[in-house]
Structure formats: structure tokens, C-alpha cells
Symmetry: C2
Subunit: 457 residues, 2 copies
């Protein structure tokens, strides 16, 4: 985990390349075992599709499943896509239920159906059930691997079952034992510790903690965050609308979804749209996704710049202004983006709601006055130093001050407005912000300049 | 958790306000119990400092500690700062050890010392030890609440101890029981399940899984990520350099640190620097932090725009170009930022290393050629439509195509270069990128235009 020698990443890649070409299964196993998962992911990403397929099929399905689990979600999808349906099904069979659903969900309808047909029927049925839930709901994040017993069973039954199924259960992430009635409705929970301290003849129904807290399959990220904020549990049972136990939602799965959300906001606000981008993806996928966002942006940019076109005469008469137009456009964009980031983050944390827009605008305007005046003075000073013309300083200083105010107010408000309309604030806030602030900034500079043109030329 | 009526956030706030003013402890308890944590956090944020203090001191310390745990890190610091040292110490005493260390670490030297002096000496000593570790190391993230027994003790001793200390331990997040030798060196681990299946006379040393995996107090996020990627554990023992057990690192704490890192990258790349910003923070703190970044940016912007100043004559002769300068500056910034985002994210995921810069540049250039040509054609088309002058189209189209190539190459490479130099890529990549692409873009437009000026005027 320390610094590795130059080019070592390439060595891992060429090692795997040679081991796969030689079909050296033992060498491959040993190498994969030894390398940290991030090195494995990097090395596999460098292999061609055919080589990736050979690597996965050389290994036993449980080993291949471990490789697939170790790489990120997007790379896992790429790996599975190199395989035929029955090869893929053998590997997917070995994954935990929530990963099965996530992976197949990302594969698209046709690809996932082909694999589901080849899977063990009981596993396939489980996955289909999980895939029916929204990926960001409790149903979409839960696992179905859990320990459940009837409330009339006794401690000795449980200990006996644990003894017999120890090998299978050791992969489960067991915090609690769930106690069900005859209709699979959840009646209580038992901690391992409670079992430990009880005699073998006790009935689970007498020993359990009754009326356990739970969430519903349809609960979304906000409801689940409130739950895990309020309760220090590592997992929570997930019930259907009739109170039947459907699965367990681990705090870990929820946290991964939350992390995914922050990650997506960062990517979308940077113009990476339609899912994460890895540099190992095909060129046209990467180009196309980036272009889909850029091509909207260029139209908005041209619209904003048309304000300059309308004032060409003013600009000709005072050409020095042309130097300041990009500065005012960029600085207002920066100020506005700070406000966008704070709003997006407070929305994710649940600290503000769309209807609080007025409060947000007021709080942003306060920052905008302070920052606008400071930045306006700086830019006015630079203009006066350069041209020795106080009127030029006045025009660009006032324009930047006013436009900073406009930018922070719009930047703070737009994410709330988009969220209130049910749109994704991370994606559209930036382009909307910069279009408005560019138009407004160009208009301010050129219209103020128009009123004092004799002093500027 | 469904939609709440208009203004309900305000109602929670005024309810708390009145309950605190009336010193109605029971009413306050009931209200805090009933509200989801995000509503509590929002309502408390609206109270004045004096009211926040009264709210916390009206409650018993364990209840107040629950309130402090329920709000975000930054808000928790604000709350503790409203209190006197002994009031704060009583509440901090009740927090888990890792939260104690995080909170006091954020308070600054003077504030944390005053509180530590008032804390229970044994708790204070634990916290001081944790605070000495880097916040993103295993030592900084671990908790010291754990169950450890000697390898000569027997199962009955453990069960007896669990029975006697059940109340205290129920707050612990216990996955394993740690088995130590006489020098507190870690010799093995026991699962609750293993205890359950063993007879009371068995020695722990015979029953334990020997040579358990562990991490070192000094291990950083990358090493810990590799560990948790490779092993499906919920927690891992943390040892000092002599192999003595110092604490337990829970996967959850690591994931929170990782999420914090993604969050920080988003905020820093949007120009929110020096820690998270909440709109409840004082105006001058918010303004000052944003300005620290904006004032560097305006200097860079002025430097970039000076290229335009150098070409004023060309611009005067072909004033239509002034319309395209902000478009080319903004579009190149967007293309470059997409590359920055992909690099930052691949760095966080451990998929690329600083020394792979050349590979990243090549992969970005491929996208740059495709996207640059498409965007260049779009902009050239717009210019020709507007002015009917193919030379104008040629100038702006070629400039945008070439500058897109430059932008994605720089955008992809800068985060790796900064990371390689040990600098924070999220913070500086954006400003470096836009400065270079602005300068280059302005130079391209105006110097190409200079060669065909007769056709442009």
C-alpha cells in the first residue's frame, strides 16, 4: 500500500495478460489473491473484452464472483457484458442478492432477461422480486439473506440450525435473528447475545424483543436516512404492506446509496451525465454522453453572447470593455456556483426544503453584497490601474458588484426551484445559472457603458 | 416523512422557541422525541445562540448528547460552542469516543482544552489519545468501546461479564470479542456465535480464531479502503506498532470518512473552501471563505484576459469576435471540467495513479478530437448564419476545436499532477484549468483572426 515503482500498474496488467493467455489458472488465482482490489480493478480494465471473458471463465464461478464484487459497479457491468448468458448466470448466482439486482438492473432489459433465464430458478425469482423495487428504496437496497425462525421454536432449535448451516450462514451479515408468526409477519427480534444467555428450552416468542422497528419496502432515501439517524442500528428489517418480512436493509447499503448520491451530484454538476464515466469505456459512449451536455450548453452560451451582439456599437466605441466581459462572466459564474453547491448540499442533507427559497435568497444576498463589493472594488482598481480611466473602473466595478448579487441569489434559488419541480438540481443548475448571469453581466457592462460612452472612448 | 404543510419548518422552530423560553422540559423532550432528526436540526439552526444553550442545558446530558449526535458535524460544533466548558464536558462525556475526538478536534486548541479539563479524567485521556491521530487514519476513526478478554479466561467468564455489564455494553457496536495476551497484544477473535456453540469451561485461547487480520493506527484511507474491499468485515481491530489492541475501526466510520471525501471534492471544486458551509453560519465566515477562493480566481481571470488586451487592435478591426470570446472561454472550461471530474473520481476510486498521466492525456485527446470537431462545427455554423462570413466561422470553429483538445488534456492531467505533488486536486484543478484554457482560447481566436483580418472586417 506504499509507493510502488514506476510502471508497476503496467506490470500487473501484462502479468494478468500472460497468465490468461497461458490459461494458467493457479498462477491467476495466486496473483488475484495477492493484489489489492484497486490494483486488480486497474489491471483488468486494461485487458481486452475477450481477455476479460477468458479471465472470468478460467476461474470457478465463486472466484469470478469475488472479482466482479471487487471492481466498481460500472466496471462490473462491463465485465458481465463480455460473457455469454450462461457463463454470466453462473457468476451472478454467487453474488449477494442486492448486488445481483443492482448488476442486472444496470445491464438493461434484454441482457438481464437472458441471464435470469439461465440462473437457478429460486435465485432468479428472488432477483426479479428485488429488481421490481426502485433502486433507491428500502426494497431496492435490502438483502434477502437473513436468519428467521418461528415464534414457537425454541433456543435449542436455533442453535441446532446454526450448527447445521454454519457454512452457508457465515457469508450472511447477521446482526439479529428475526422471529416470525405463521404468516411470515415479523413479531420480534433476538440478538445473538440474548440466545447466548438463554436456556435451550425457552421459546423464541418469550425471549424476543417484541414490536421491533422496521421500514417498508417502498421507503425512500430520505425516510431511511431519518431512520438510521435516529437509531444506531446496523440493519433494519424491511416489511411489505402486510407486515411480512421481505429482507434486511443494512446501514452499509444505505450509506453506499448516499455516497452514490453525493458522487452523482459532483459528476452531474461537472457535466458528466447519464451515469459514471470510466476511461476504460468505449470512446463513443464517453464522447456522446459528454456532448449531450455540451451541445445544450453551447446553445445557451450563444444565446447569452447575443446580448454582446446587440451592443456591438457600444463595444466598438470602448474596445477596452471587451477585456472585461469574460472576467465578469467567469467571476459571476464562480460566485453563483458556490451558492449552487451550498444549496445542493443542504438539500441532500435535508437541511432546506424547496419552499424555503425566500430565506435562502435573503441569506445569499447578504453574502452577495459583501463579496460583490469586494470583487467590484478589486476589478475597478485593476481597470483604473490599466487604463487610468475612473469611468472604466466605475462601469466594470458596478457591473461585477450587481452581477455577483444576481448570481448568488439565482445560484442559491435554482436548485430549490428545480427540486420543487421534481427535476434533478445537480444537472441543470449550472447551465441555467451561467446563462442568466452571462446575459445579465453583459447587459450590465454594456448598458452602463452606453450611458457614459464619451468618457470611455 | 411525507410532504408537510407550508411553513411547518417555521412551526417546529417557534414551538422549540416557546418550550425553551417556558423552560418546559417535558414538552421539549416529547417534541424532540417526535420529530425526525432533520427537522430537529433545521429547527435548532433557527434558534439564537442563547436559546440553543438553554435547550441543551435544560435536557439531561445523555439527552443533550443525542441532540448533538443527531445534527451534522458542523452544526454540532456550533452547538457546543454556545456552552460553557463544564456544560459542554458533561455532554461530550456521553458521546462515543470517535465522535468525542472529532468534535473536540473541530473546536480548536483553546476550546477543546477547556472542555477536556472538565471531563471525567479517564474519558479525557481516551479522547486525547484519539485526537493525537490524523483524522483520516485508522487511529482517528476507531472507537475504544470494545469487548476484550484474556486468552486464559473461559467462556463462562465472558458470559458472566456480559450478564453483569449488559447495560453498558448495549451501546457498543459489538461484532467480535477480542482475545488478548498479558501485554494486551491481540491474539485472536471470537464471534458471539462461537461463544453460543461452546461449553462454559472452554478457554478462549483454544476457541478463538487465531492470527486475526488487523490494521495499524497509522494506516490511511487508501490502505483501509483496500482492506474493507478485500474483506467483508463490519469492523477490524486497530493495533499499535507493538501489536497491542488500541481500538476497533468500524466499516461504517470508514464509509463516513469516504463519503466526507466525495462531499469535500464537490464543495471544493465548486469553490467552497475550508470546510462545509451551512447557511446558519455567521455571514462573515461564509463571505470570507468564499472570497478567499474568489479573490485568487479574479487575479487569474485578469491575467487570462490580458491576452485580449494585447490584441485590442485585431479585436477593434473585427468586433464580431468579441461575441465569441466568452463562448469559447466558457465552452472550453466546461469540456475541461468534465475531464477534471473524471480524473478526480478515478483518483478517489484508486483507478488511476499520478504516474499514468500520459495514458490519461491520450484517452482525453481522443474524446477531445470528437467533441472539439462537433462543437467547432456548431459554433462555426452559428457564426456563418449570423454574419454570413465563412472566415469568421473558420476562425471561431478552429479556435474552439483546438481549445477543446487543450482543455480536456489539461483537465485530465492537472488533478493527477496536483495529486503527484501532494496537493489537493479538488481545490486547485478548476482555477488552473480555466486560466490556461482562457488564455489559450483568447490567443487562438485573436491570432488566427490576425492572419485573415482583411476577410473579417
Amino acid at each position: 500500500m506504499g509507493e510502488t515503482g514506476a510502471g508497476e500498474g503496467c506490470e500487473h496488467w501484462s502479468e494478468l495478460h500472460e497468465l490468461v493467455a497461458a490459461a494458467n489458472v493457479d498462477g491467476l488465482r495466486e496473483r488475484l489473491e495477492m493484489l489489492p482490489p484497486s490494483d486488480v480493478a486497474r489491471a483488468i480494465a486494461r485487458l481486452g473484452g475477450e481477455e476479460q471473458r477468458n479471465l472470468l471463465t478460467l476461474l470457478d464461478p465463486p472466484e469470478a464472483a469475488e472479482v466482479v464484487t471487487g471492481v466498481g459497479d460500472a466496471q462490473a457491468v462491463e465485465l458481465i457484458e463480455t460473457l455469454g448468458p450462461s457463463e454470466a448466470a453462473a457468476i451472478v448466482d454467487e453474488l449477494p442478492s442486492d448486488q445481483q439486482a443492482d448488476l442486472l438492473g444496470d445491464l438493461g432489459k434484454a441482457g438481464s432477461e437472458a441471464i435470469l433465464e439461465e440462473m437457478t430458478p429460486s435465485e432468479a425469482a428472488d432477483v426479479r422480486r428485488l429488481m421490481a423495487y426502485d433502486a433507491d428504496s428500502a426494497g431496492g437496497m435490502m438483502v434477502t439473506e437473513l436468519l428467521a425462525f418461528g415464534f414457537n421454536q425454541c433456543v435449542a432449535d436455533v442453535v441446532d440450525d446454526l450448527r447445521r448451516h454454519g457454512d452457508e450462514y457465515c457469508d450472511y451479515d447477521v446482526q439479529y435473528i428475526y422471529v416470525l408468526d405463521n404468516s411470515r409477519r415479523l413479531r420480534g427480534v433476538l440478538r445473538m447475545r440474548d440466545l447466548l444467555l438463554a436456556s435451550g428450552q425457552r421459546r423464541l416468542g418469550d425471549l424476543m424483543l417484541p414490536e421491533p422497528l422496521s421500514v417498508r419496502v417502498s421507503d425512500g432515501l430520505d425516510a431511511i436516512r431519518d431512520f438510521f439517524d435516529a437509531h444506531a442500528f446496523l440493519g433494519v428489517p424491511v416489511l411489505d404492506d402486510c407486515g411480512r418480512l421481505e429482507g434486511v436493509l443494512h446501514r452499509r447499503a444505505f450509506q453506499e446509496a448516499e455516497e452514490g448520491r453525493t458522487d452523482r451530484i459532483y459528476l452531474e454538476s461537472s457535466g458528466i451525465v447519464g451515469g459514471e464515466e470510466l476511461r476504460t469505456m468505449p470512446l463513443l459512449v464517453r464522447s456522446g454522453r459528454r456532448l449531450s451536455w455540451l451541445s445544450v450548453n453551447i446553445v445557451l452560451n450563444i444565446a447569452a453572447a447575443s446580448v454582446i451582439a446587440a451592443y456591438q456599437e457600444t463595444l466598438s466605441a470602448a474596445i477596452a470593455l471587451a477585456v472585461f466581459l469574460p472576467i465578469i462572466s467567469d467571476m459571476s459564474g464562480c460566485s453563483g456556483n458556490q451558492a449552487v453547491a451550498v444549496s445542493n448540499r443542504e438539500l441532500v442533507l435535508g437541511l432546506i426544503r424547496p419552499r424555503e427559497m425566500w430565506r435562502v435568497i435573503v441569506q445569499e444576498m447578504k453574502v452577495g453584497v459583501v463579496n460583490g463589493v469586494v470583487l467590484g472594488l478589486l476589478l475597478a482598481g485593476a481597470a483604473i490601474l490599466w487604463k487610468g480611466n475612473p469611468y472604466l473602473g466605475l462601469v466594470v466595478g458596478v457591473a461585477l458588484t450587481v452581477n455577483t448579487l444576481v448570481a448568488v441569489a439565482i445560484g442559491g434559488a435554482v436548485p430549490l426551484a428545480l427540486k420543487g419541480l421534481g427535476k434533478d438540481p445537480a444537472l441543470a443548475s449550472g447551465p441555467i445559472l451561467t446563462t442568466v448571469t452571462d446575459m445579465c453581466g453583459f447587459f450590465l457592462v454594456l448598458s452602463i457603458a452606453g450611458t457614459m460612452l464619451p468618457h470611455l472612448s
